[in-house]
């Protein structure tokens, strides 16, 4: 029912095309590149203090005291410039990232507003939150850091190795060789760690599931007298710890070896040892060793961002793919040239609704409704009854255009509802859903959802008619109380607010679910009163679960396996002694 992207991720990790990421980033690409250039320049300037010390030393040792201060101040100035470049790079990229995030989020919100309603069936809120918030946030590294960090990780070592080679190529070779050897070990380790890291992820997933189960089921765990954490949780926790231990233990020797090879102290010993030898042989000047003692030590660490960038990029690519997939979800079809409704014969007159050979299936090849014909004449009550699974609710969903018919048509005033402007349709047909959905805003705004400009008098009148006015006045801030904050309403009270909202929308035709009233048994009668107020004078289509509530209907459609098997008034149907009569007897015995 929901879109394909949620059901199966069509790509395995590493194969997700990165087109989506590039595409999403396009609006800020220029700024991100500029930031990366700044960051690369800043990294290059990081060598300034070391170079300054070496060059000042060169002069001092040669006994030259001229030009010392200019070099020192130049170094201080360049170092300050480096800081400015870093700050500018950070600001530019992070502001670009923030702007991109809000742009993408607003685009996603706009797109959600035009997705077909059935897309939202089955509760997609959590997933929507994940994509719009978490996935967009996951782009952060790709936008704000990836390019700059990569530029730094390349520029830094290039500048350092370049300078060191210029100072002394033999020592530079030694430094690079030590770093490269350690890198080799690191690469091999990274390849071999994929499997244990996968095991940790799997153990982690099981632990999360066990934790949710422990907490959600805590009352059961306790009520049935288990004095310790359930076995599944304990097993998952120790499994997770084991996975971690195994992954670490495998590499502890190699890691220790690599780290030892490239530890600053080790490189220090290496370059000074060999350096002293070279000086002894007269192949190099003593001051050159200073350059290596300052710059040769951090080479290994400078390459680290390349490794973390790869993982973070993978995350960003996958996130971008999910964001783009949501944006690619087809919007609900809209009529290209919406047809106007025929002018009503007299103002306030109600248009008829006609179901003409309506066929529908949620998935291809599985038809749920097989040709329904019916007319909702203005001012009449039509009830839809039948055993569960007969397709009653589906019929309501089609009228609300959650789905469109696969064959046949639903017409309002003779016009196919698919050719109508949606706003037009919803001005004529209102819906009262089984679950009352209130927004976290004032009670007043909730009632006036269809017409925010409605006067206080109109809002109060709707609330009075829905028998909820007094309850609202008893709230801390009356109609200004915010739902979920200072307006805490019971199920039945929320239902009555939503009835007041539907009253205010004042559509001549109404689709409602009779089970609405039973959500809160203690206030069932109050909700029923409100429903009666809402029904007055309207054309109704009622999805009925309890037959007695619709005995007064003008027309009862008895649905079975997607077909109308009987139709008529209550007493006619009882006389026919068919499915309706059987259902009635099952619920009420021989009462009539």
């Amino acid at each position: 029912m929901s879109s394909a992207i949620w059901r199966a991720e069509p790509y395995t990790v590493g194969q997700v095309p990165d087109r989506d990421l590039a595409e999403l980033q396009r609006p800020v690409r220029g700024r991100v590149t500029l930031a990366a250039v700044f960051q690369a320049l800043a990294t290059a300037l990081s060598v300034v203090p070391a170079v300054a010390v070496v060059e000042i030393g060169r002069r001092l040792l040669a006994g030259r005291h001229d030009g010392l201060w200019p070099i020192a101040w130049l170094a201080v100035g360049l170092f300050a410039a480096r800081l400015l470049l870093y700050a500018a790079a950070g600001l530019i990229s992070h502001l670009a990232d923030a702007e991109l995030a809000v742009t993408v989020r607003q685009r996603l919100a706009d797109h959600l507003a035009v997705l077909p309603l059935h897309w939202f069936a089955g509760g997609v809120s959590g997933r929507v939150k994940t994509t719009v918030q978490d996935d967009v946030s996951a782009l952060h590294h790709a936008v704000a850091h990836a390019r700059g960090d990569l530029a730094s990780a390349v520029t830094g070592p290039v500048v350092i190795v370049g300078y060191l080679t210029w100072v002394d190529w033999r020592l530079a070779l030694v430094t690079v060789a030590a770093t490269a050897a350690a890198q080799g070990v690191r690469l091999r380790m990274a390849q071999r760690s994929a499997e244990p890291v996968g095991r940790i992820a799997a153990a982690n997933a099981e632990l999360s599931a066990a934790a949710i189960e422990l907490v959600q089921g805590i009352s059961v765990v306790k009520a049935f007298g288990q004095a310790r954490a359930p076995d599944r949780f304990r097993a998952a926790a120790s499994g997770y710890a084991d996975a971690h231990d195994d992954a670490q233990r495998v590499f502890i020797r190699q890691r220790a070896l690599t780290r030892a090879t490239v530890a600053p102290a080790t490189i220090l010993l290496l370059v000074t040892g060999i350096g002293i030898g070279l000086v002894g042989l007269g192949w190099t000047e003593p001051v050159n060793i200073v350059a290596f003692a300052l710059l040769g030590l951090g080479l290994f660490e400078q390459l680290t961002p390349i490794y973390s960038a790869r993982d973070q990029r993978r995350t960003a690519v996958a996130a971008a793919h999910r964001v783009a997939a949501l944006l690619r979800e087809p919007a609900e079809p809209t009529a290209e040239h919406p047809r106007p409704l025929p002018d009503a014969v007299s103002p306030g007159a109600v248009l008829p609704v006609e179901l003409d050979g309506v066929r529908f299936g949620y998935t291809e090849g599985h038809e749920v409704l097989h040709g329904i014909d019916a007319v909702l004449a203005p001012g009449t009550v039509t009830a839809v009854v039948g055993p569960s699974g007969a397709g009653k609710s589906t019929l309501g969903l089609l009228l609300a255009r959650f789905y469109d018919v696969t064959q046949g048509a639903i017409r309002l005033g003779g016009v196919d509802i698919r050719e109508l402007d949606r706003a037009q349709l919803y001005r004529h047909i209102g819906f009262l859903f089984q679950d009352a959905v209130l927004l976290r805003q004032s009670v007043r705004d909730n009632i006036a959802l269809a017409d925010p400009a409605a006067s206080d008098k109109v809002v109060c009148a709707a609330a009075r008619a829905a028998a909820i006015h007094q309850r609202i006045m008893a709230l801390p801030r009356g109609y200004d109380s915010v739902v979920g904050e200072d307006a805490r309403l019971s199920g039945g009270e929320a239902q009555r607010v939503s009835i007041a909202r539907t009253l205010l929308a004042d559509t001549p035709i109404l689709v409602l679910d009779e089970a609405t009233a039973f959500a809160d048994p203690e206030s069932e009668a109050a909700v029923q009163d409100a429903l009666a107020e809402l029904a007055a004078g309207r054309t109704l289509l009622v999805i009925a679960h309890r037959l007695h509530t619709v005995v007064a209907a003008d027309q009862i459609l008895v649905l079975d396996e997607g077909r109308v098997v009987e139709r008529g008034r209550h007493d006619e149907l009882l006389r026919e002694n068919g499915l309706y009569a059987r259902l009635w007897r099952a619920q009420y015995g021989d009462r009539t």
Binding site: P49, V53, I56, G57, F79, Y86, G90, L91, H94, A98, R105, Q106, L117, F120, G123, S125, V128, K129, Q133, A211, V215, Q216, G217, I218, S219, A223, Q226, A227, R228, A229, R234, A237, Y240, A241, H244, Q248, I252, R259, P264, A265, L268, I276, A423, Y426, F431, V437, L439, Q441, D451, G492, A517, E522, S523, A525, D529, A536, H545, H548, A552, Q587
Partner: protein, 582 residues
């Protein structure tokens, strides 16, 4: 930094002290050996630059010693980190798991449940990171201190130059971190608000479109997203000082060292060779400070996780009686009970006597306190005044194990574990035989559910029991209570609309369960209410009426009105012709 280390012990405190000491020691040795290696570089370079190559070569020996010591310490440190992380991880899971099952059930009500899931899922991992952060922090203190000692011995003037700047570096970091914290918290708040609006927007789509003349919902979301963007921008600016002021301080310190060095050299106070060696030392002294900035933000996150875990672990469980009393006949008594979740009272002076083996229906409008009564009997919470007694014994004098044995709870929103139907029934009595489980299942009409599912009794019910309907879940819960066979049952009857078949099955299952047991039922169905031995009517936290159905109807009070309302609801007919008011 001292304060940070004190807070760090939070996570380390749960590990064996010996392991922690050994780990901290090897970490310290490694940090000092690094510092000493840099320190030794000064006399080595000094000799080398002055042309005394032989003397420089001799300094290689202690340098090599430091390096070797560093290797050993580093290896030991990694091994220690591995053992410590593992020990902390295991201990925290054990303790939290064991502690959660001892906490009063009332503690889990509301948003806490989700927080605890987070804590168990990711929180522990984040807390464990403390171990590695300790390395960075110890290194960032001990390595510079060691270098400083060398600097002091070699030349007090250069030492003074760095000493003046070092505290400034620390102060700037601390101030910047506070600013970052503030803007970060504001951003988190704005993001949470936007997420909530988003979930609302997606969930309310049908309603929003059916009332589509306005853009109400989209506007609320749009505003929340814009606020999130503003907060994100502010965070960018707020983090700026944190990222760069520290660097600026380090640069100023470097400038000071450079200037002092040059003055000493040009003034002829120190030989050029020595000045250069000291400058190298100065640069190395300042380097570790840059690492502190990176560690600081990770540390904040870990510290918050440790605090959350500590607050869970330090939540006191309901006190156990020192001398637990055995329960006699399974009667329930509430005597002068006052209770409230916060300051406002929910129950006031509630008195109720339920004889052993009888059934009592609690009725009243939502919010009257029905659920609270059952929660007090199961001791989710303790009363503020008065007493709840089972079998004549105050529940506070009954051991929690005994109380749990005596009482079965059948909730409205039943949680089933993701296992088979049989597993879920067996939770009622882990020692039950297959026959006992099966028998309970038949009596609760669970057999028809098993027959419907593809793998019969072995079918998995999905996370939380999602693959079953509400009525089916309640039947499984009733089977659980049957197999547990506790003398007292607290039941919250399902309110959801049940189809005919389920309605009948739940009804029969309840009749089985009620047989010979003391039942306290939050009743919604008229037949359940009318059949109870006793009805207690709750209104505004007080029991306003109690008695048998016929007596209460005859009395013509609150119950009679409630009943008339419900009768009216049952006889309701939907029509569009007239309204009751007109």
């Amino acid at each position: 930094m001292i304060g940070q280390q004190r807070r760090l012990t939070g996570a380390l405190a749960v590990a064996p002290a010996g392991l922690v000491r050994r780990y901290l020691l090897s970490t310290a040795v490694y940090a000092v050996s690094e510092g000493a290696a840099f320190g030794l570089l000064a006399p080595l370079l000094s000799a080398l630059l002055a042309g005394r190559t032989g003397e420089a070569a001799r300094w290689l020996i202690p340098l090599a010693g430091c390096v070797a010591l560093g290797w050993l310490a580093h290896y030991d440190m990694n091994l220690g980190a591995l053992r410590l992380s593992s020990a902390i991880r295991r201990t925290l899971y054990d303790r939290i798991g064991a502690h959660l099952v001892r906490l009063p059930l009332g503690w889990f009500d509301g948003p806490r449940a989700a927080q605890v899931e987070q804590l168990l899922g990711r929180g522990v991992g984040v807390a464990v990171r403390t171990v590695n952060l300790a390395q960075t922090l110890i290194a960032s203190v001990l390595t510079p201190v060691t270098i400083f000692v060398f600097l002091l011995v070699l030349d007090w003037r250069m030492a003074l130059a760095v000493l003046v700047t070092a505290p400034m570096v620390v102060l700037v970091f601390a101030a910047a971190a506070r600013l970052t914290d503030r803007t970060e918290a504001e951003h988190d708040r704005a993001a949470a608000e936007a997420s909530a609006r988003l979930v609302e927007f997606a969930g309310a789509q049908p309603v929003l479109r059916a009332n589509g003349r306005s853009q109400g919902g989209r506007r609320l979301l749009g505003e929340a997203l814009a606020a999130q963007h503003r907060a994100a921008r502010e965070e960018v600016f707020g983090a700026l000082p944190g990222q760069h002021l520290g660097q600026l301080a380090i640069q100023l310190a470097f400038t000071a060292v450079l200037v002092v060095g040059l003055l000493l050299a040009t003034g002829g106070v120190l030989s050029p060779a020595k000045v250069i060696a000291l400058l190298v030392l100065g640069v190395h002294f300042l380097q570790p400070f840059a690492a502190v900035a990176g560690a600081a933000s990770s540390l904040r996150v870990s510290r918050a996780a440790v605090q959350r875990i500590t607050s869970v672990l330090s939540t006191p469980p309901l006190p156990e009686p020192e001398q637990p009393q055995p329960i006699g006949e399974p009667s329930i008594e509430l005597a002068g009970v006052d209770f409230g979740y916060r300051s406002a009272p929910v129950l006031q002076d509630v008195n109720l006597w339920i004889p052993p083996g009888s059934s009592t229906a609690l009725v009243g409008v939502s919010g009257a306190g029905k659920t609270t009564v059952t929660k007090l009997v199961a001791r989710f919470f303790d009363v503020r005044a008065g007493a709840v007694r089972i079998g004549g014994v105050d529940v506070r004098d009954i051991s929690s194990a005994e109380l749990e044995r005596a009482v079965s709870l059948v909730f409205q929103d039943v949680y089933l574990f993701d296992g088979s139907i049989e597993d879920n029934i067996r939770i009622g009595a882990p020692g039950a035989t297959a026959e006992q489980v099966r028998a309970a299942a038949y009596r609760a009409r669970v057999d028809t559910i098993a027959a419907r599912l593809p793998d019969g009794w072995c079918s998995r019910v999905g996370e939380g029991g999602r693959l079953l309907s509400g009525g089916e879940r309640q039947r499984v819960a009733i089977a659980r209570a049957l197999v547990k066979d506790a003398p007292i049952v607290l039941l919250d009857e399902a309110t959801s609309a049940l189809d005919g078949e389920n309605e009948a099955a739940v009804h029969e299952a309840l009749a089985e369960l009620g047989h010979g047991r003391t039942m306290l039922i939050i009743a919604h169905r008229l037949t359940t209410i009318a059949n109870a031995d006793q009805i207690a009517v709750l209104d505004g936290g007080r029991i306003v009426e109690h008695g048998r159905h016929a007596e209460l109807l005859a009395a013509g009070g609150r119950y009679a009105r409630l009943w008339a309302e419900r009768e009216r609801a049952v006889g309701w007919r939907l029509s569009n012709r007239s309204t009751p008011g007109s």
